[in-house]
Structure formats: structure tokens, C-alpha cells
């Protein structure tokens, strides 16, 4: 091996070690400010010491010097039984940042970067050495820092306030955990780190899963072999009966020999069956272990993705003259590593916003009766196969009325529409590019800057984001993300003769409805339940699969129904049978299939056969649309009502109920036939099913944007010639260009949205109804 190569791998190790220790030091230092115990210094000193030692091995003298200075500061503080003061912490963080920047470089560039940064390193080192020990006695937090969280909660909570997410994860144990985790980049005693391609990991998962299926088969073989025992016993009985009938002599001796052989064979068979049983059990346990190990290797604790936030909150609050502490709950919620990487930018952005625009200055907080110190809380938890992140602050909140006024003032929507918008529809405007920049709204100013970026990232990873806010009490951004490859507990049902699964948490209730409880009113079916009528739909129709005949309509006239709940509304989804509950490992749908309406993911059942996991939000949206338009076929009825050939039909795609309804009423008032869809995905599915003369779409929609919808329509041979009109709040030149480049025939800004303008544009494109 050439010396170059050897050096290279050492540098690589140094880089990995550097990033680990930098993280430990940063977490530890920020944690010290909230929980000033000198004992915590021990791990920090060791981290600095390790950097020094490693830097010496790879011969980087500048790094040795700086790490040595850091170590000395930690050591001095520890010997004096105090924690470093604010100035010292700042200097230590600055030095640590220098190392963090190094760790981010390619390992082979390190020597050059250090040579270039020698002056900076020397300055940082000098700053560290020059500082007076301005710490304070142990146990008494620096009052100028004014960060004691103690008045607000028990000591345990206070210790978790800054830096560390949980009391159990204060700086020292956390560093230790990292060492033992084995998943993060370590060069510790646990051994090296191997990078696997996502595809390879996927195949390993598949193979491990198949091992479970096959070892289950082994168990069935064992059952079969054991059942053969009966035959041996019957044969032995038959032989002894025959023997009794035979006279003494050769025949009887022969028979005795046969009986002896049978006994030996029986014993041998029993041994084999026992051995098979043991083997089957061991294989089952082993393959189960293997599977869970592989499954776990994709997942990382969410806390790893939120490492930078405590420091960000600290620095930013200091800069803005505010007081804030950051609390993380659910640091251990596991997330797929790919998703975790994508989350970094949106989380940083939202956290920065919360400190900058959410939290009030301390005096103002005191005036409104809040604790001086603001709190930014990030909660991660798993909700039915998705990861829910809730980033909330206890700041000034956002006033929906202020947004309504601004929407009207900016002419983004006509007054009648704006007046009818719900709070959540109003909050959606915050995600428009540049929504607040020109607005005279102090309470929300700046909120809009960059939020469109957050929304874009969420859409890219297949997630959603929404805002909840109470004026004066705070704001929360709630993000729902898929946790690919995680395990969900689901109810397996039969639809169209095939198994489908619905995550249990999405099901409000499951029931076998007696036929007499199903009523038809105005062409739609309802289920009489708890003195309430619940709309009923056939799952096969919503999915668009041919329905299989419903089970035994004569002798067992009950209907298996899953009740889904959504913002207070309840819908019944009729299936063909309940097949049972299962834990399913979520496989993302093959990306080559694109988005399949109503289907979120796929999985395999115990016997290895495929099952599709339903997307309840998707189904509800389709169901809502179908109910609104009365296109639902009766449960058990043969087929969907054929849509009548009406004048000219227009498909309206918009995620705002208000806009959708206003457009529908406008068009129908003029005599067009209008059908609505709630997003691009549903729009595309409807467009492919029906024949429309025109498609009108919004741009910003969950799951599939209007731009993507337009592109897909243009790419579809059957739809390519259908005119598309985009109606959007986005009125910038580049937005128009994006729409027209995607293939739209007309771009109408909602700010210029007047009844006549829309109808005129429709008439221009497809003529009068």
C-alpha cells in the first residue's frame, strides 16, 4: 500500500472523529448553560483531548494547538469546580465551529485547509488562552444569562431546557450513547462504518422478509410430518390384529419381524420430526432477528436531525435580545435516514422564524403575563405510519383576520370568497411566495419569507404542512411526513377480491352493518348509526377496481364497513370482508408506477403475498368529491351511474373548498357542467376517467401541483388536446412562465379573478356551453 493511501484513510478517520466530538462539544456547551454542573465538563474535556490526540497522529499542528487550548479551558474550569462563563463559552463555541467546518470538508483537503486557516486557528487559540476565568461558582447559574428555567417546572425539566432533549440524555450520557449507537459515523471501538446503497438495503430487507415467510413454511412442513404419526400407529394396530388371526409358524414370525421394523421406523420418524421442530423454531427466531436488525438499520432517531436547533435558538435569541429555550420531545422516534436528511433545511427555517417572528421580546412577554423566557417545542411522534412533527412557540401567534384583510387588500381573492374562508384556508396563504413582504401586518411580517420553500420540500418528500395558531398564544407548524419502510398495524380487508390494508389508527370504527340499517336518500346511500346518517361508499368504486360480489347477501345480510373520520365528518367505506389485523412493513410503492390514487404503499402478508396499503386521506378526498357530485353507486349495486352526456363539461381542480365551490357555481350558473377534484392527483384520475372539454386547475395543491398536473395531461396521449387553464394566486412573471411552459393554454391570476374574467376565459377556450 502506498504511503499516500495510508495517510488518506487516517485523515478520513480523523474527519469522522472530529465531527463526532464537535457535536458532543456543541451539545455539551449549550447544555451547560441550562444545567451548569461541573461534572458535565469531564466529557467535554475528553472530547477536546481526543481531537488533540487524533490531530497529532495525522500531523495537523494547528488543530493540536487549538484543541489543546480548549482542553485547558475545560480542565481549568473543572479543577476550580465551576462552569465556563459566557465569554468563555462563546470562545469555545467559536473554536468548535472552526473544527466543525473542518469536519465538513473532504478529508484529503484537511491539511491544506488547516494551513490556509492557520492564522484563524492561532487567533482562536489566543482568544481562548487570553480569557480570564470569568466563570461563577458551581450550581449558581450566571444571572446575566437569565436563563433559569427552574421557575417553570421541576429540575428535570429545567435540565432538559437547553441543548439536551431529555433529562436522560444530558451531555455526557448522550455522548456515550452515540458511541454505542453504531449507526452514526464513529471511529470508536465498535468498529468502522460501512455505507450501503439504498437499493442494496432494500434488497436485504426483502430477503430478510422472505426468510420469515419461508421459515413459516418450514413450520407447516413440520405439522404435516407430525400428522403422519397417526399412520404409523394405525399400521401397528393392523399388524397386531392380523397377527392374532394367523396360526403359529413362519408367517407369524415374518409378521413379528415386520412389526419390529415398523417400530424402528416409527422411532426414527419421531426423531426426525423432533429435529425438524427444533430447526423450524430456531430458523423462525433467527429470521425474525435478522429481519428486525435489517429493518432497524435504515432508521435513525429523529433527534439526530434536530442537533443544530438548540444552538440555533441560543445564538439567534441572543442576537435578537430575546430569551428562548428549545425543547425536543420524541428524539427517539425513528425516521428513515433519507427523510431525516431532507428535513434539515425546513426545520432550521421554521425554528429561525419562530425565534425571530414568533417570540416576543421579554418585556412584552411579561406585560402579557407570560414567562420571560419563550419556549420553542419540537415534538416528533409516529402517527399511523407517518411521522408527525409539531414545531410550536408560545409567542404572539398569527391573527387569521389580519390575513383575511391582507388577502382582500392585495386583491388575492374577491371579498365574498375571502369572507367565507376558514382559518385553515387563510393560513394557507402564508405559504405563497412573498405573501407578507408587502403587507402592513406586524403580527405576521416576515412569516411568509421562505415558507414556500418549506412547503416545496414537504411536497417533495410526500408530506404536508399546515399552520395552527391562536393570536397571543402561539403558533404551531404541523408537518406530516411518510416514514418509509416503517411498520404499521393495519386491518386487512378484501376489496375487488384482493387484500388491501388500512392503518388501524386511521379507522374510526369497524362494524358489520345489518342490511336494514342501510338507507337510500336522494340517490345516495346512508348508514343509520347512533341516530346519525353516515354517508356510505363502496371501496371498490373509490379505488376504481371492479367490485367482487358482496358476501352472502341472502343468508348473512351484513355489510363490513370501515368508518373513517375527517375533521368531524364521518364516512363509511364498504368492503367485501375483514381478513384480520396484521403488522405490516411498509414498502414504498415502486416509483416507476407514479402515484396510485387511494394507495399509499405496499407490503406483504404472512404468506408472502402482496397487499396494498390504502391512503385514507386520498380516499376521503375522492369520497368527498363523489358525494358532492352524487356520482356514488349504491353499495351492492351493479355499476356506477354512467355520467349523462351534458352540454360542455369542465373539471375544476382546487384544494380550497371555497374556491372550488365558487368556481363550480359560476360555471354551472352559466350552463356548463362542472366536476370538482381536490388536488392534482384526483384531477388526473378524474380527467382520465371522464371526458372533459376543459380543465381548470390551481397551482399549489398537496400531493400533485397544478403544474405537474398540466404536464401529466400534456404527456397523456388521450388528454393531450384538452385545454388547461391555470388559476392561481401566484401572479409573478416566472409563475406564469412555469404554467405556460408546462403546457397550460391560459393563465389567470386569482388577483384578477372576477366572475366575468373566468367565464370569458372559459368561453374563449371552449365556446359557450
Amino acid at each position: 500500500m502506498s504511503p499516500d493511501l495510508a495517510d488518506f484513510s487516517l485523515l478520513e478517520l480523523f474527519s469522522i472523529e472530529l465531527s463526532t466530538h464537535c457535536r458532543a462539544i456543541e451539545d455539551g456547551l449549550v447544555g451547560l448553560e441550562g444545567d451548569p454542573r461541573p461534572e458535565l465538563l469531564e466529557s467535554l474535556m475528553r472530547a477536546a483531548h481526543s481531537i488533540k490526540g487524533a490531530a497529532r497522529i495525522v500531523d495537523l499542528p494547528q488543530a493540536v494547538g487549538l484543541a489543546h487550548a480548549m482542553e485547558d479551558v475545560f480542565q481549568a474550569a473543572q479543577q476550580e469546580g465551576r462552569v465556563p462563563g459566557k465569554a468563555q463559552v462563546d470562545a469555545l463555541l467559536a473554536a468548535n465551529d472552526f473544527f466543525a467546518r473542518l469536519a465538513a470538508l473532504a478529508p484529503k483537503d484537511l491539511p491544506q485547509a488547516l494551513a490556509d486557516g492557520a492564522a484563524e486557528a492561532a487567533a482562536l487559540e489566543a482568544a481562548l488562552r487570553a480569557l480570564p476565568p470569568d466563570g461563577h461558582p458551581a450550581g449558581h447559574p450566571d444571572t446575566s444569562q437569565a436563563a433559569p428555567a427552574a421557575p417553570e417546572g421541576p429540575p428535570g425539566v429545567a435540565s432538559a431546557a437547553l441543548g439536551a432533549p431529555l433529562p436522560a440524555q444530558a451531555a455526557q450520557p448522550r455522548a456515550a450513547q452515540d458511541q454505542g449507537g453504531g449507526q452514526t459515523s464513529q471511529a470508536g471501538p465498535d468498529g468502522g462504518v460501512v455505507r450501503l446503497s439504498a437499493e442494496l438495503l432494500g434488497r436485504l430487507m426483502g430477503l430478510a422478509g422472505q426468510c420469515i415467510v419461508e421459515s413459516g413454511q418450514l413450520g407447516r412442513v413440520f405439522e404435516q410430518a407430525r400428522a403422519q404419526r397417526r399412520g404409523f400407529l394405525d399400521l401397528a394396530d393392523l399388524l397386531s390384529q392380523t397377527r392374532a388371526l394367523l396360526p403359529e409358524g413362519d408367517a407369524k414370525d415374518q409378521l413379528d419381524r415386520a412389526a419390529g421394523m415398523l417400530r424402528t421406523m416409527h422411532a426414527g420418524h419421531s426423531d426426525s420430526v423432533c429435529a425438524l421442530d427444533g430447526l423450524a423454531r430456531r430458523m423462525e427466531i433467527l429470521s425474525d432477528k435478522l429481519y428486525h436488525q435489517v429493518l432497524g438499520s435504515r432508521m435513525r432517531p429523529f433527534g439526530e436531525g434536530a442537533r443544530a436547533l438548540p444552538r440555533l435558538v441560543r445564538d439567534l435569541a441572543q442576537e435578537l435580545g430575546k430569551q428562548a429555550r428549545f425543547v425536543l420531545e420524541g428524539a427517539n422516534a425513528s425516521v428513515d435516514r433519507d427523510i431525516l436528511d431532507r428535513l434539515e433545511a425546513p426545520l432550521l427555517h421554521l425554528t429561525r422564524n419562530a425565534v425571530d417572528h414568533g417570540l416576543e421580546p421579554p418585556e412584552e412577554r411579561v406585560r402579557s403575563g407570560k414567562p420571560q423566557q419563550g419556549r420553542i417545542l419540537l415534538v416528533a411522534r409516529h402517527v399511523a405510519g407517518s411521522l408527525e412533527l409539531r414545531l410550536s412557540d408560545d409567542g404572539c401567534g398569527i391573527d387569521p383576520e389580519a390575513i383575511r384583510a391582507s388577502v382582500q387588500a392585495k386583491g388575492l381573492a374577491p371579498a365574498p370568497i375571502a369572507q367565507r374562508m376558514t382559518d385553515s384556508e387563510l393560513f394557507e396563504f402564508l405559504f405563497l411566495p412573498g405573501f407578507t413582504t408587502a403587507a402592513a401586518l406586524t403580527s405576521v411580517s416576515g412569516r411568509g419569507v421562505g415558507l414556500d420553500v418549506v412547503k416545496t420540500v414537504m411536497q417533495e418528500v410526500g408530506g404536508q404542512v399546515r399552520v395552527e395558531s391562536t393570536p397571543g398564544q402561539g403558533t404551531a407548524f404541523v408537518m406530516r411526513l411518510p416514514v418509509s419502510r416503517s411498520v404499521v398495524r393495519a386491518l386487512v380487508v378484501r376489496i375487488g377480491g384482493e387484500p388491501y390494508a388500512m392503518p388501524l389508527a386511521r379507522i374510526g370504527r369497524v362494524l358489520l352493518a345489518p342490511a336494514e340499517d342501510v338507507q337510500t336518500t336522494g340517490g345516495m346511500q346512508y348508514l343509520r348509526l347512533d341516530h346519525e346518517n353516515v354517508g356510505l361508499a363502496q371501496a371498490a368504486q373509490i379505488l376504481g377496481v371492479p367490485p367482487a360480489p358482496l358476501p352472502g347477501n341472502e343468508d348473512d345480510p351484513t355489510l363490513p364497513v370501515m368508518l373513517l373520520e375527517d375533521r368531524g365528518a364521518r364516512f363509511g367505506l364498504a368492503v367485501e370482508a375483514f381478513l384480520g389485523e396484521r403488522d405490516l412493513v411498509v414498502h414504498p410503492l415502486d416509483p416507476r408506477l407514479g402515484k396510485v390514487p387511494g394507495v399509499a404503499a405496499a407490503s406483504t402478508l404472512d404468506d408472502g403475498s402482496p397487499v396494498l396499503i390504502l391512503d385514507d386521506a386520498d380516499l376521503l378526498r375522492s369520497l368527498e368529491g363523489l358525494l358532492a357530485e352524487g356520482r356514488l353507486a349504491g353499495v351492492g349495486a351493479g355499476e356506477a351511474l354512467a355520467p349523462e352526456r351534458a352540454p360542455k363539461s369542465v373539471l375544476v381542480v382546487d384544494d380550497s373548498l371555497t374556491v372550488r365551490e365558487v368556481q363550480r357555481q359560476l360555471l354551472e350558473g352559466r350552463g356548463y357542467r362542472a366536476t370538482t377534484a381536490v388536488d392534482g392527483m384526483e384531477g388526473l384520475a378524474l380527467a382520465r376517467m371522464g371526458s372533459f372539454d376543459l380543465i381548470i386547475t390551481d397551482v399549489d395543491m398537496p400531493r400533485m401541483t397544478g403544474i405537474e398536473l398540466t404536464r401529466r395531461i400534456r404527456a397523456d396521449a388521450a388528454l393531450a388536446r384538452t385545454p388547461v387553464m391555470i388559476v392561481s394566486y401566484k401572479d409573478r412573471q416566472e409563475d406564469r412562465m412555469a404554467g405556460l411552459e408546462a403546457g397550460a393554454d391560459f393563465y389567470l391570476a386569482k388577483s384578477g379573478f372576477r366572475d366575468e374574467a373566468l367565464l370569458q376565459a372559459v368561453a374563449d377556450l371552449i365556446g359557450e356551453p
Binding site: P499, R592, T604, S609, P610
Partner: protein, 185 residues
């Protein structure tokens, strides 16, 4: 495993080889090998309806008994049947006979799922029969009948003699494009 079992196994594997079998193998091993001028290529011979097709060995991953296929709402069609489990992964399953535009065997005796890897990713090909892999000399690749070569997207790039049968040889690129195309509604 019991001692009995081990003894039986030893009896089976350690037994004397009969002289005539030994002689036959010795002759076969000692015989001069036929000279090979060009490297041979391999192909798996599969049947789709009444048509035989050679799939280049480079794209074959495994051939399995046909397992259950789950249809995909709004996407499944005559060629793309749905998703099937191949070694724990759910792959799009495509019926080869429909892809070729021919008639499927209504009740094949030994249907096989052939997992293939093409530049467009992995697919499970449902064939009516798989007759195993055999070699051919690339130089023996015959030209296509004009009618096939003129068809809009011929999957077949040449004709080869395999096991005494004349079979079309699928092009990896061509087959991959057709497979991906079948996933679009």
C-alpha cells in the same frame, strides 16, 4: 438430527461408485473438447403463448414458480398485471405474451416468474414456460424477418437456434423500454 440419519447419509454418499459409471465419466472427462472460436452467449428460452423467446442471460436474475399477483388500481392492464413478491421485494409483474402482443396460454402447465434486470429497473416477467438456459454463438444471430423489423417497437433483435428451436432473441434495451411503457395507463 439423529445418529440414524447420519448413518444413512454416510451410506448414501460414501458408497462405492460402480465401475461402469466410473468408466463412462472418465471417458467423458478425457475426451477432447470442441474448439471454441468465439465466446458463447447465454439465453434463457421462455414461451409466451405459442411464441418462443430467448432472454439474454445477462438480464436474468432468477426464475421462480409463479406466485400471487396483486393488481394496482387504475394501472393494471393486460400486460402489467400488478405487483408480485420476488424474494421479499414487490416488483411490477408483466405478462410477456401481452407485451409481445400475442395470445396468452389460457392454462399453462408450468408458468414461471422470471425476475429480470434491465436499465429501467427490475421486473417480474410472467411466462408460460421456461425451458432453461442455453448457449449460442453471437455470430449465429440471424437477421429478422422484414415484417418484425418494421414493426413499431420490435422487442426482438435477431433470431437464434436454441435447442433445435428457432427463437427470437429479445434486446435488453428494447424489452426494458416496453416493460416500463406497460406501467403507464
Amino acid at each position: 438430527m439423529s445418529d440414524d440419519g447420519n448413518r444413512t447419509a454416510r451410506l448414501l454418499y460414501d458408497r462405492e461408485v460402480p465401475a461402469d459409471i466410473l468408466e463412462e465419466w472418465t471417458l467423458q472427462t478425457a475426451a477432447p473438447k470442441p474448439e471454441r472460436t468465439a465466446p458463447r452467449s447465454g439465453a434463457m428460452l421462455v414461451r409466451a403463448g405459442n411464441e418462443w423467446l430467448g432472454l439474454p442471460a445477462a438480464m436474468i436474475e432468477t426464475a421462480l414458480p409463479a406466485g400471487p399477483v396483486h393488481s394496482v388500481p387504475r394501472l393494471s392492464n393486460a400486460a402489467f398485471l400488478g405487483l408480485t413478491n420476488v424474494d421479499g421485494e414487490l416488483l411490477p409483474c408483466v405478462r410477456l405474451s401481452a407485451l409481445l402482443g400475442g395470445q396468452a396460454d389460457p392454462a399453462p402447465a408450468r408458468p414461471r416468474m422470471v425476475a429480470v434486470r434491465v436499465p429501467q429497473g427490475r421486473f417480474a416477467l410472467l411466462v408460460d414456460e421456461a425451458a432453461g438456459t442455453c448457449g449460442y454463438l453471437p455470430g449465429e444471430l440471424g437477421a429478422l424477418p422484414a415484417t418484425v423489423a418494421l414493426a413499431p417497437s420490435p422487442l426482438v433483435v435477431g433470431v437464434i437456434e436454441l435447442e433445435g428451436r428457432s427463437a427470437g432473441l429479445a434486446g435488453i434495451e428494447e424489452l426494458g423500454a416496453a416493460l416500463l411503457g406497460s406501467l403507464r395507463p
